[in-house]
């Protein structure tokens, strides 16, 4: 879910620009009565109503607000020059802490941070911390994928798992690999079929991709795209599916086995309070199941009590660090060793992952 924005169409930019313009006008209006008390600003890449990525960040903002801290947000801000202006505007209008919630805000965030040393900045999914007032944070979504893989491996009858992928970036490939490794562990005959749709967000196309995978024999469907269309297609076709980014259970109550949920709220509240109380320090955060930044939706009872128990145990073990999603031996598609027996992949390798593990069908689009 990293650099969504770069990859979206030009015409989307028009839309975003239009909405940004309105937001900017509002911001100008707000900028008068600031400075007096502590305020937190949020910059979103999508609309708060996307029911996925931005929706979950917005939930995090609501939690900060509920903790009694004033917040402002600007949605659908394109990455690039517009982002810098919005971030600068927030900094100028008396915000003390600013969360920039998309990969492409990395450079603008650092640029603005240089000019506002007294304002704290938190950038999601990036790696640049050029100034002492910039922190970065992300979530280990792949741990959730490991759980999905375990469930999928047990639930499939056709030994075929269908995976709707968005763009060939490490974030997405890491998810495919984590899922496949976990599925292989419980079911060595598993095959992962992947369809690339080259969009984060096109319900029609996502539904078609899900249908194609189902027609090709997949009886478990999962996606790394944002809409609920794949789970609805799975529900109609009577196959299993998983929710992505937020709990999608009500869209496919029979089909959804569980959902991976991004939960930014505790982190946002903690950091906002730290900034208010003057204890905020620069850091790089990559939290997972342990800290609750990655959470799982309710498990479907159709999995059976035994499997639910098994998965809950695995979830605990992943959280405690007893089990790692990428434990050796791991081989790539050609059979070369990636991670030696008894070792686990380090964060550097995870962050740059760009090859499939053995058992995944097809090539990564270059």
């Amino acid at each position: 879910m990293l650099h969504k924005k770069n990859l979206k169409g030009k015409f989307k930019m028009y839309k975003n620009f239009f909405r940004y313009l309105i937001s900017a006008i509002f911001l100008l209006g707000f900028s008068v009565n600031s400075n007096a008390d502590f305020k937190v600003g949020f910059v979103y890449v999508g609309p708060t109503g996307d029911h996925g990525w931005t929706f979950q960040h917005h939930e995090g903002r609501n939690a900060v607000e509920a903790a009694g801290i004033k917040t402002t947000f600007v949605e659908s801000v394109p990455e690039g020059a517009d982002a810098e202006r919005v971030i600068r505007q927030l900094a100028q209008s008396g915000h003390d802490l600013i969360f920039t919630t998309s990969f492409g805000y990395m450079d603008p965030t650092n640029k603005v941070a240089k000019d506002f040393p007294n304002v704290k900045f938190e950038h999601a999914t990036g790696y640049k911390r050029e100034h002492s007032n910039v922190s970065t944070y992300s979530a280990r979504f792949y741990e959730g994928r490991t759980l999905l893989g375990h469930i999928a491996g047990k639930m499939t009858k056709t030994n075929t798992i269908g995976y709707i992928a968005s763009f060939p970036i490490p974030e997405v490939i890491r998810g495919i690999n984590a899922m496949t490794l976990a599925a292989q562990k419980v079911n060595p005959n598993i095959k992962t079929k992947i369809v690339w749709v080259f969009t984060w967000y096109d319900p029609g196309k996502e539904a078609e991709a899900a249908q194609a995978l189902i027609d090709q024999g997949a009886d478990v469907i999962m996606q790394h795209t944002d809409s609920t269309a794949p789970v609805q297609t799975a529900e109609k076709a009577g196959v299993w599916s998983f929710g992505q980014a937020s709990d999608m259970q009500r869209f496919a109550p029979k089909s959804i086995l569980t959902s991976i949920i991004d939960d930014w709220a505790p982190y946002y509240v903690e950091r906002a309070i730290a900034a208010r109380d003057g204890t905020w320090k620069q850091q790089d955060t990559w939290h997972g199941l342990k800290e609750g930044m990655v959470a799982m939706g309710p498990y479907n009872s159709a999995m059976g009590a035994d499997l639910v128990k098994e998965v809950e145990q695995l979830q605990k073990d992943l959280a405690s660090g007893k089990v790692h999603s990428f434990t050796g031996p791991i081989y790539d598609q050609k059979g070369n060793i990636l991670v030696a027996e008894g070792k686990v992949a380090d964060d550097g390798m995870l962050a740059g992952m760009s090859v499939y593990v053995k058992g995944v069908e097809g090539d990564i689009p270059k």
């Binding site: 015409f11 029609g204 809409s227």
Partner: protein
């Protein structure tokens, strides 16, 4: 992977379902353009239709009201375009683009409270026949009423343009508004009607997405289909039947390439993704080589502002 005959039937059925929004929007836009008006607001009208249809379905729980309402919303928003271009004589291209941007923004605002609500199952016709007849069952039966309407529409449009007096009037207005006006035809009124009709069809196309194809509301859910419909009209050289062929090719290859990926063809995925666009253009260009026919079909005064001197 089974390539048996009944599987191909299912495949053709889903290709038909995926091309419906393109057929509806392109057929509507075709009439608008044949009257000499270039409305680039197709995407905006579709998205307004999508949210209106979905919102009305949630509020009234009546699919008939939702469908009719979505068409009405398309009419209302195209009326803005009509008023600006026909009564205030603004530039068609700029106004159409503005309509799309406006439509996307407005739909997002209207849709705030409808995100995350699951849609309702839309009734399908002859579902028992679909199961009982191999191959032809999934092609001919088990679709929504909107699909049958969409597949009849290009033929009706063709008949309307070629065989009816009103169709002749529309073509005359699109080819030579001045002569038409001298013949006593109210050019502005005809163009208004064609714009509103186009709006209604685009609204219906959007509602097909939010009510039938993927029953839910998400911002920007038309995802560029309006632009593809616009391109189809041009590449089909303003012929309704060719619009149908183009829409089917586009929908067909979109779905086939997903199947090819799932089967595991070793063809670069980017090429497969570009294939629907490529093939649609190639086929339409090849079947529309007859330059005499193109001249005949092209509305000569497309996009030009017409005003009656007083």
């Amino acid at each position: 992977m089974s390539l048996d005959i009944s599987f191909i039937g299912i495949l053709i059925g889903s290709i038909m379902a995926s091309s419906v929004p393109l057929i509806l929007a392109a057929s509507g836009e075709l009439i608008t353009e044949r009257s000499g008006v270039l409305n680039l607001g197709v995407e905006g009208m579709m998205i307004i239709g999508a949210i209106s249809g979905f919102a009305l379905m949630v509020i009234t729980d009546n699919l008939f009201i939702a469908i009719v309402g979505s068409m009405l919303s398309g009419v209302i928003i195209s009326l803005i375009f009509g008023f600006l271009t026909q009564s205030l004589l603004t530039n068609h291209v700029a106004t159409g683009l503005a309509l799309t941007i406006f439509g996307i923004g407005l739909s997002a605002m209207l849709g705030k409270n409808f995100v995350g609500i699951p849609g309702k199952e839309f009734p399908i016709l002859f579902s028992s026949l679909r199961e009982s007849i191999p191959f032809f069952g999934p092609i001919l039966f088990g679709h929504s009423i909107v699909l049958y309407f969409a597949f009849a529409l290009p033929f009706l449009t063709n008949y309307f343009l070629k065989k009816t007096k009103l169709g002749l009037v529309v073509r005359a207005v699109g080819d030579s508004p001045v002569s038409a006006s001298n013949q006593g035809i109210n050019v502005i009124l005809v163009r208004y009607c064609c714009i509103l009709y186009g709006g209604a069809m685009c609204g219906l196309a959007g509602a097909y997405l939010s009510l039938i194809y993927t029953p839910q509301w998400i911002e920007n859910m038309t995802a560029g289909r309006g632009w593809i419909a616009l391109a189809l009209v041009v590449f089909a050289t303003w012929s309704p039947i060719k619009v149908l062929i183009g829409a089917l090719i586009f929908g067909g290859i979109t779905i086939l390439q997903l199947h090819m990926q799932a089967i595991g063809f070793r063809i670069p995925v980017q090429f497969l993704s570009a294939l629907p666009y490529l093939m649609t253009i190639i086929v339409l260009v090849v079947i529309s080589r007859d330059s005499r026919k193109i001249k005949l079909n092209t509305p000569t005064s497309l996009g030009r502002i017409f005003y009656k001197e007083k």
